[in-house]
């Protein structure tokens, strides 16, 4: 096989068994790779109501046919399982659904060099274990001496044991071991798979790490054609101004973009919706000037946007570490009411070492601060810790408590929605979330494409499922032909003529429907979506499909690949439908329909309830889901997912009967 290795590994930690399975071209045609193969397994090999900590929950690590090749940004891995974080039924926190997290850097490429497209881990080991993959040799090794170590110590210890600095490690830290619900999995020191608690799933299996060394090449069907397609794409990315900004300031440049568009970087738990003068103290530009030591690049990426920080002034002088990314800065910084960039970066490093999702951690702490400010949470609840806005000392301390599951950190480590349910007193109204996963940096009122995307995301509130970046005028203006292609002539006219386009929902169901599949194609190929979803330097997914065809030697059309992306999104949606989660969960908390943005260019903005109802219905119509958001039997037939019909229909009938009864 070309592109793909055609093999995947199944590990049963309960039995201590390892199996290598061959993948057929038919299967790969249906699911492609990476997120696609993962989502297929996570649906078919689980049952309704399965506890994410059940040993039977399949923890999948998937890479794509382009991972580990010369294709730009070909270092991505998706990690998927039923998520301990996410929940449904608006929300019933004991209802779980699909979860996944994505990471870059180099581990995924190494897995291809070892000769595998995916690893599926089930069962639970009696003792802490790590998996060693050295080309054809796959072993389970004792991790007792690693248990309790942070992610950096773990990686260094394994490198030391094997005597090879080039081996690549994914691992959990103490947070994952202790089943913190938003525990992350770290790769190659500081690249994180943060969201939806995949680290906790690994911890529940007593799986500490997976280490890979590979000596094989990824085979390419048509090397000359492939090289040509890669060069064309790489050079286009290199010459794009947004890529160049990304190189200098990293993903933190998107924070600066947000500032320019009047979106306030989650100021004080997405409450006020604006912070005057934010950009003067907290920006990618400032960070790069003051704290950047050097940059770091994921496998085969021409941009190299990752940061390596070295703090040379102030109380954290001498600290150096990888990161931080934009979301980490935003959710630990302005979200908690601080504009101290150095402290925020150090907070991110604490999260990396313990193996914690920075977005969920920042959300939990900012929720506590929000409630404390309104008198709904006191020192009685927090074990004596005051939660004042902008108190970085508290945040730094509490992050360690979350990682160790100590005191109030233990409750916060359950995820914000569960913490709020425990405390009660109306604190649930202070948790910006969808399906139990906390909203990230985008204000849940303003950029309505992202706002709709959050609600419809198949892994809980997440901007990375859709990334409808075309809704931002500066990006749209640079890609007018793409706007025309995506929206069609009629909706394009609406888009260009709308005075407050960002807050106008009317074009967003169409934009989101396209964006979701566009972005998914990158996840299937195992490449970074930034050049096709955010900077759009590679155009859209049709800009990367020639690389795919030349690498693999298949002739599958762009339309077919786009449809495959639709199939993947649909099976993830079906996972939620099967749990009884649909329209009731596809929404935001009341706050964003009621509390207007306080100041700035979008002052007065809330989500318009009537438009929202319309947008939900329109989104379902465009997807051929019924008006409650259940995938229809016709759509499942069309996507060759007939075997899902029975369960989805049963669930739909239950849901609709419950609605009638109300």
């Amino acid at each position: 096989m070309y592109g793909w290795t055609g093999k995947r590994i199944r590990v049963d930690l309960s039995k201590g068994e390892i199996m290598v399975e061959s993948l057929t071209l038919d299967y790969l045609r249906k699911w492609i790779g990476g997120r696609g193969m993962n989502s297929e397994v996570v649906y078919h090999e689980t049952k309704v109501g399965m506890d994410p900590f059940d040993p039977a929950n399949p923890l999948c690590f998937g890479v794509g046919p382009l991972t580990g090749t010369f294709a730009p940004g070909s270092g991505r891995t998706t990690i998927s399982a039923r998520s301990p974080m996410t929940s449904g039924k608006n929300p019933r926190t004991d209802v779980h659904g699909h979860g996944d997290a994505s990471m870059g850097s180099h581990w995924g490429a190494e897995l291809k060099f070892a000769g595998y497209d995916q690893i599926i881990v089930k069962g639970k080991s009696a003792k802490p274990t790590w998996i060693w993959i050295d080309d054809d040799v796959i072993e389970l090794r004792d991790a007792s001496y690693l248990w309790g170590k942070d992610t950096k110590q773990t990686t260094l210890a394994i490198i030391d044991e094997l005597g090879d600095p080039d081996i690549k490690v994914v691992c959990i830290g103490p947070a994952g071991e202790k089943l913190v619900r938003f525990a992350a999995i770290m790769n190659t020191f500081f690249s994180a798979s943060g969201r939806t608690g995949m680290g906790a799933v690994a911890g529940s299996k007593n799986l500490k790490a997976i280490t890979v060394r590979g000596s094989k090449p990824v085979l390419i069907a048509e090397p000359e054609k492939f090289a040509e397609a890669c060069w064309e794409c790489r050079n286009r990315i290199a010459s794009d101004p947004l890529s160049q900004v990304m190189q200098v300031e990293g993903t933190q440049s998107t924070f600066d973009d947000g500032n320019a568009w009047g979106i306030a970087g989650a100021w004080k738990n997405h409450g006020p919706g604006y912070c005057p003068g934010l950009e003067e103290k907290f920006s990618g530009t400032l960070y790069t000037q003051k704290y950047l030591h050097s940059r770091n690049g994921c496998y085969a990426c021409p941009v190299s946007c990752m940061r390596y920080t070295f703090i040379k002034e102030g109380p954290f002088t001498g600290k150096h570490f990888g990161g931080p990314e934009m979301e980490s800065m935003c959710n630990l910084g302005p979200r908690t009411g601080t504009l101290d960039q150095a402290a925020t970066a150090v907070m991110q490093e604490i999260c990396n070492l313990y193996g914690i999702d920075t977005i969920s951690a920042g959300s939990a702490i900012s929720w506590a601060m929000d409630c404390y400010a309104d008198g709904l949470l006191t020192e009685n609840d927090t074990g004596g810790i005051p939660f004042r806005w902008g108190d970085t000392d508290t945040t730094l301390k509490v992050l360690e408590m979350i990682g160790k599951r100590e005191g109030f950190g233990k409750l916060l480590g359950e995820g914000t929605i569960r913490a709020a349910k425990e405390v009660g007193r109306g604190t649930e109204k202070y948790v910006p979330h969808v399906r139990g996963l906390e909203d990230s940096a985008c204000d849940p009122r303003i950029p309505t494409g992202f706002v709709l995307g959050y609600a419809m995301s198949t892994r809980g509130a997440d901007h990375m499922r859709h990334i409808p970046a075309l809704e931002f005028m500066s990006i749209a203006e640079a890609h007018k032909d793409l706007v025309e292609k995506v929206l069609g002539p009629q909706l394009s006219r609406v888009f260009w003529s709308s005075p407050k386009e960002l807050t106008d929902l009317s074009t967003k169901p169409a934009l989101c429907t396209w964006s979701e599949r566009n972005k998914c194609v990158a996840d299937l190929f195992g490449v970074c979506c930034d050049p096709i979803a955010y900077t759009m330097a590679a155009g859209d997914y049709t800009g990367i499909t020639p690389q795919f065809r030349a690498a693999t030697g298949v002739s599958w059309s762009d339309d077919e690949l786009f449809k495959t992306a639709e199939r993947v999104v649909t099976i993830e949606r079906a996972h939620w439908n099967r749990e009884g989660s649909a329209r009731q969960d596809d929404t935001h908390i009341d706050r964003y329909f009621q509390r207007p943005v306080e100041e700035g260019p979008w002052k007065g903005t809330v989500i318009d309830r009537k438009m929202w109802k319309w947008a939900q219905s329109e989104y379902y119509r465009l997807h051929n889901w019924n008006d409650n958001g259940f995938v229809t039997p016709e759509k499942l037939e069309e996507l060759d997912l007939k075997e899902l019909i029975e369960d989805i229909e049963a669930s739909r009938k239950c849901y609709e009967a419950e609605l009638k009864a109300k």
């Binding site: 580990g68 090749t69 010369f70 070909s74 180099h106 490429a109 060099f113 950096k152 260094l156 600095p165 080039d166 190659t188 020191f189 590979g214 000596s215 094989k216 090449p217 990824v218 085979l219 390419i220 090397p223 492939f226 090289a227 890669c230 060069w231 790489r234 050079n235 290199a238 890529s243 160049q244 190189q247 030591h293 050097s294 940059r295 770091n296 690049g297 994921c298 496998y299 085969a300 990426c301 021409p302 941009v303 190299s304 990752m306 390596y308 150096h320 990888g322």
Partner: protein
């Protein structure tokens, strides 16, 4: 005047695009074990050092090779291994100041950079389009990236001293 690939290691971000390009060009597949350029990684401090044949003007590998397989190409000035003669003894690896020769995964023979003979620019240099850690320069300019890296650091130091 022959051209060489000059290195500014401070600018290397460890993305390994050069390794992917090199293996694709020479062997039609993508994999670091096929790459004539190897990046030595020190990830815990984010330092990356590109290593590849420097095509020494007085090459110790040419002298040490027991079968006379190491030779200089007149066209590019590159020092390469004659694959028909090489016996894979690895003497060239050990005599090289940098340990540059790789042992080819399929043949077991020593292989080194050939400056992508026939191309306008070596593929690794082209792949490093945004970082510019690798530059294809006339040999008399080979020290420019390194000396400018030093000068850059010194200039930064001077700048910070002039703040009042």
């Amino acid at each position: 005047m022959r051209k060489v690939i000059a290195i500014d290691a401070e600018l290397c971000t460890g993305c390994l695009s050069c390794e992917a390009a090199c293996s694709l060009k020479h062997d039609g597949k993508c994999g670091p074990t096929y790459s004539r350029i190897q990046i030595q990684e020190f990830r815990e401090v984010n330092v990356f050092i590109p290593i590849f044949c420097q095509h020494c003007n007085d090459a110790p590998c040419i002298n040490v090779c027991p079968v006379g397989a190491r030779m200089r190409k007149e066209t590019t000035g590159a020092v390469v291994t004659n694959q028909d003669l090489c016996i894979g003894c690895k003497a060239c690896v050990y005599i090289c100041p940098f340990g540059a020769p790789i042992i080819h995964p399929e043949t077991g023979k020593a292989v080194t950079c050939d400056l992508c003979e026939g191309e306008d620019e070596p593929w690794c240099v082209q792949a490093c389009v945004m970082q510019k850690a690798l530059l294809f320069l006339p040999e008399t300019k080979a020290s420019v990236p390194k000396s400018r890296a030093y000068a850059r650091a010194y200039v930064e130091q001077l700048k910070s001293l002039t703040i009042t």
